[in-house]
């Protein structure tokens, strides 16, 4: 029989299928809701017509999207959606208190109260075990980790809530008149679990405006989603399988293999994160909202300062505005500028995870930024030709890639082993054999490098071509990309790298 009709005449099968469908809607810690999953698209098919119907009425649209976002968060993080509700209510109330109060000192105290509450929740879930472990190392006690589950995306929405309260305090924005509007901002599902970190002054006016999405928005959004799926679910998930082998047991591999694993992870983390960001930005665009750009071909950077202007832009600009500048920025002399830079990156490192390796990674980026700043007057005198550009790019790329080793490897010892492997056990003659054995992996990497280094105007032109193409072409492209995901799907769900941050 060409087509199996599994449910006809099999009551048990129908019951089983219905139970399975029902279970799909429940929280499953083993299967977080990713934009690249089939279940998300099933939900989106249900979401879209209702959203289209309610979009004209801002109030109804807000209520519906908030409900959907909370369900989305429940599906990803279980009952922690209640904590999100509580956080939003506290922040919203305190922001109104700040706006009402006259005395500067009291307003400042309320702002700090809000920040401390937000950071305490983040600190408890994300850093409690890390601090307990370190404390026990110092006092040589027995470390019994707390049984904590990190709520998905807590680092992202905590930063959003802090920036909102600070902006209200500074008078940059007025607190939203409705709690639902604030909850909409904080829980907006495209950006909820993995960013981009949306700023209130940019996003809240969009809620009020409730702009209808144009055809260009909708299909431009779909194009971004297609690109995001290719990056995240096809390329990153595929190349991750080889990279994991190298990072899990570096002692088994030669210098050539290790080097390719390091390059692979450098591209994997970019594809993984920027791909997910593309999907989030695309989904928001479909709904008529703009989240801003989060990645701007970061590996084209010719120095570390430029890299951080292109990499995870929403985080780096948040750190600049809410950590670096409040610390004094570059207003308090040369030494303080370097120190502020270093401290900001240290906090950025710690934001990525509760482990010393992230602190080290952040610190080394801080050192790199300080060195670049210190050398700037001297660098400015070097003629800007293609050779200098190439050397600058190479140095930046190598530095960033090597630091990714510390970010990814299990511990410091493994990182050192990986790096020393590259330098100690390296034989160029192994490259042809590597290409032969890892042909698909190499093709993926090549495709990725091409995607990364083609001029932005070409990518934009492709997007416009897609938007203007007939619906059958759009369907075919979408279907082919989904089939590529199925073809390259790994046996295990490769979790989104930034999911737990």
């Amino acid at each position: 029989m060409l087509f199996e009709i599994p449910f006809i005449g099999h009551a048990d099968t129908i019951g089983q299928a219905l139970r399975n469908i029902g279970n799909m809607f429940l929280y499953d810690p083993e299967a977080p809701l990713l934009f690249s999953s089939g279940f998300f698209w099933l939900l989106f098919i249900l979401f879209l017509p209702v959203y289209a119907l309610l979009k004209k009425s801002k109030a109804k649209m807000v209520v519906f999207v908030v409900c959907f976002s909370l369900y989305f968060y429940y599906k990803s993080s279980g009952l922690f959606f209640l904590m999100l509700l509580a956080t939003s209510l506290i922040d919203w109330s305190l922001s109104h208190a700040i706006a009402r109060l006259q005395k500067r000192g009291v307003r400042l105290a309320v702002m700090w109260l809000s920040i401390i509450i937000s950071l305490s929740i983040l600190g408890y879930f994300k850093y409690a075990n890390f601090f307990l472990w370190n404390w026990n190392q110092m006092v040589e006690g027995n470390f019994q980790p707390l049984d904590l589950v990190l709520p998905v995306g807590i680092s992202f929405y905590t930063f959003q809530s802090i920036s909102y309260v600070v902006d209200v305090y500074k008078g940059r924005i007025s607190p939203t008149s409705s709690w639902l509007d604030y909850l909409f901002f904080l829980s907006f599902f495209p950006a909820l679990v993995a960013g981009p970190i949306v700023r209130a002054d940019y996003f809240l006016p969009q809620i009020q405006e409730n702009r209808a999405a144009t055809k260009d928005d909708v299909f431009g959004g779909l194009w971004l989603i297609v690109i995001g799926i290719i990056k995240k679910a096809v390329i990153a998930d595929y190349i991750a399988q080889y990279n994991d082998l190298i990072f899990n047991d570096p002692s088994l591999y030669t210098g050539v293999q290790t080097l390719m694993g390091v390059l692979g992870y450098t591209m994997q983390i970019y594809c993984d994160f920027s791909g997910y960001s593309d999907m989030a930005i695309g989904l928001a665009l479909i709904m008529g909202f703009r989240l801003g750009i989060n990645f701007d071909s970061p590996y084209q950077s010719r120095n570390l300062t430029e890299f951080w202007r292109r990499w995870h832009i929403s985080l780096s600009s948040w750190l600049r505005d809410y950590v670096y500048i409040p610390l004094g920025g570059n207003r308090k002399g040369t030494f303080r500028t370097y120190l502020n830079n270093f401290l900001t990156m240290l906090i950025g490192g710690l934001w990525h995870g509760a482990a010393w390796k992230f602190v080290f990674w952040g610190a080394m980026h801080g050192v790199g930024l300080a060195i670049h700043k210190a050398c700037k007057p001297w660098l400015g005198r070097i003629p800007d030709n293609w050779f200098v550009s190439f050397v600058s790019w190479l140095l930046t790329f190598v530095y960033v890639s090597l630091l990714w080793v510390f970010f990814r490897a299990a511990d410091f010892e493994s990182s050192v082993r990986i790096i020393s492997n590259i330098f100690v056990d390296f034989d160029w003659r192994q490259f042809p054999q590597f290409f032969e054995v890892r042909m698909v992996w190499c093709i993926m990497m090549l495709a990725l490098i091409v995607m990364h280094f083609v001029p932005q105007s070409w990518t934009d032109a492709c997007g416009r071509l897609y938007v203007r193409s007939p619906w059958i072409v759009k369907l075919l492209v979408f279907a082919v990309v989904v089939q590529l995901v199925v073809e390259f799907m790994s046996e295990e769900v490769v979790p989104f790298i930034y999911f737990q941050f």
Binding site: Q16, L48, A213, F219, D249
Partner: protein
């Protein structure tokens, strides 16, 4: 629903309908390439299939020692295959082979797993090449912490299909932490009395804290061979005496560029 959402909805719905329909249809092949299916079928009927497995393959059943079997006294052509654990196991197994008159060949494929072996013809090739009539398998270490170990069951079954009627012992992975169910899955899949469960053993590890040391691997094989009489197909497994000394078996290393 007004355009442009109508257009988008149709595109997404049509695409999903296509993938859903294909997941319940016969395979489409283009030459040697078969178009893979989105896992809708499995997702919808998952529990039913799992129930079938649990009914036919009781985990306790497989591990329970079989009724006492007569020892097969015919010298065997032993083939031991598997991941990076295989090398050290083969060294000790070679001493048992020498003591008991068997011949032994080993294929050590670093970082390999059940999927890699199932999807290649390597096992079939070496079984034919060495005319193996007893197989030891050491796989599962690289799948110990998979979230859904049952997804590896088809690969395990495929490997066992290749081995077919040849007697075998699957040496379970030496856990360094509690696994997520790989041992249970392997035990269910293997013939009764053909799976040696290693996860309870305390083994000294190398610096990587994963691989057992050479001495620990020798003790591991000693343990397998002590268990041999209770297995489904016992072969001669007398402990090597002091005259055996070090034996260098024929070991094929499959690791491409690996050291």
């Amino acid at each position: 629903m007004k355009s442009p959402y109508a257009g988008l909805w149709l595109i997404v719905a049509l695409a999903l309908a296509m993938f859903l329909t294909y997941s319940f249809s016969q395979d489409i092949s283009l030459g040697s390439w078969t178009v893979k299916k989105a896992p809708f079928h499995d997702a919808l009927l998952a529990e039913e299939e799992a129930m079938e497995d649990s009914l036919s393959l009781d985990s306790l059943y497989a591990s329970t020692p079989v009724e006492e079997q007569t020892v097969d006294s015919v010298p065997k052509s032993i083939l031991i295959i598997g991941d990076s654990m295989t090398f050290n196991l083969a060294l000790r197994l070679a001493q048992y082979a020498k003591q008991n008159g068997h011949t032994i060949h080993a294929v050590n494929w670093d970082s390999s797993n059940t999927k890699i072996w199932a999807e290649s013809d390597t096992l079939e090739y070496f079984m034919k090449k060495y005319d193996a009539d007893f197989v030891f398998i050491s796989l599962g270490s690289n799948e110990l912490y998979f979230k859904k170990p049952e997804t590896r069951l088809p690969y395990v079954k495929r490997i066992l299909e290749v081995i077919d009627t040849v007697p075998y012992v699957w040496i379970g992975p030496p856990n360094w932490e509690e696994d997520t169910g790989v041992n249970d899955m392997l035990q269910r899949a293997c013939r009764r009395g053909s799976f040696f469960r290693t996860d309870g053993m305390k083994l000294a590890r190398k610096k990587d804290k994963i691989h057992p040391t050479r001495q620990a691997s020798a003790e591991w094989i000693d343990s397998v061979m002590r268990w041999m009489p209770a297995s489904a197909h016992p072969i001669l497994a007398d402990r090597p005496d002091s005259t055996v000394g070090r034996v260098n078996p024929n070991i094929v290393f499959l690791k491409a560029l690996n050291k």
